[in-house]
Amino acid sequence: MIFLIEYDRPKGCLVQMKSFADRDKDVAQTERLNLELENHSRGIDREIVILDAASKTAVRRTHRRYFEDLAELLRFAN
């Protein structure tokens, strides 16, 4: 699966996540660019990234920072 992620760094929070089938990688990439151009027009500075993974669970495991706040990330040994 392909995941388009928009993340607000200073606030440390996920703005949106959209998923696409593997065959739709071009669609996802075009959507990523359009979102970036739209944010650029509006003066919004966000991290927009495309990730590939077997599942949403896998993405949440390898890219926790997009989904969890600081307090949650500090509990990793529990």
Binding site: P10, L37, I48, T62, R64
Partner: protein, 248 residues
């Protein structure tokens, strides 16, 4: 979008404009073309890892514009030489598994280059990176243990919500201190656990069988990390609150 073929000079000129902060819509489109030029190399590397090693990496087809610009400014590198425009990440349980994954990747990609950031941590960041050249492009594979991964995610988050400089060894001193301390605690216990596991392998104990010595080492590791996290939590959450108060 039609993928165009940018010359090295065009790519580097684009990088120079991005570095200076001159980000136009046409440059964002050009950068997207450049990202897409990694598709073949990225697909080749990730598919080989999935199909031939049976590992399940999470791939990042393209580094975000924000991260590319930050890196261009921070390191003064040329865009055409950036090694992590496309890449993927593999998380394994421990250093024994990490070493094994790295060996298998080196066998799979014999022309790859290895960056072992466990030997030379970068501001506390520990991992192994395997850089694979393919079709004149580079694809970066990050191999991290779950503890290295948790530390890296924490460090990134602190950089996001407290101070972007922390990740690169500057900014809030107290926050850097607790992150570095935590990294050293993880390193100490991961390394001793690896030594124990290797000794037991030498003694022909079957891989995967967990002895009492390893169980005790794991318990000690967990406690040491919990203690270190307790101290880190106080400092980092307070730094986040201070930054939020200042922003509001």
């Amino acid at each position: 979008m039609t993928e165009t073929s940018l010359t090295r000079t065009q790519v580097n000129k684009l990088g120079d404009r991005l570095r200076k902060g001159e980000v136009s819509k046409s440059d964002l489109r050009l950068l997207e073309d450049y990202r897409r030029s990694f598709t073949e190399a990225y697909d080749h590397v990730v598919e080989k890892i999935r199909n031939e090693l049976g590992l399940a990496p999470t791939g990042r087809r393209a580094k975000s514009t924000k991260s590319i610009i930050d890196k261009l400014r921070r390191e003064g590198t040329r865009l055409s030489t950036m090694q992590d425009v496309a890449g993927c990440r593999i998380v394994v349980s421990d250093m024994l598994g990490q070493d094994k994954a790295v060996r298998r990747l080196e066998e799979l990609f014999p022309n790859s280059n290895l960056k072992d950031r466990r030997k030379m941590p970068s501001h506390g960041y520990r991992a192994v990176h395997v850089i694979v050249p393919h079709s004149n492009k580079l694809v970066e594979i990050q191999i991290r243990t779950s503890l290295q991964q948790s530390w890296a995610e924490l460090s990134e988050k602190v950089s996001d919500v407290v101070d972007p400089l922390i990740k690169y060894g500057a900014g809030d001193e107290e926050a850097r201190f607790v992150l570095n301390s935590l990294s050293r605690v993880i390193e100490k216990y991961e390394t001793s656990e690896l030594r124990l596991a290797l000794d037991e392998l030498k003694d022909s104990k079957p891989e995967g069988a967990i002895s009492d010595a390893i169980k005790n080492a794991q318990a000690a590791k967990k406690q040491a990390i919990i203690d270190s996290l307790g101290e880190a939590s106080e400092v980092l959450l307070s730094a986040e609150r201070t930054k939020n108060d200042f922003s509001n």
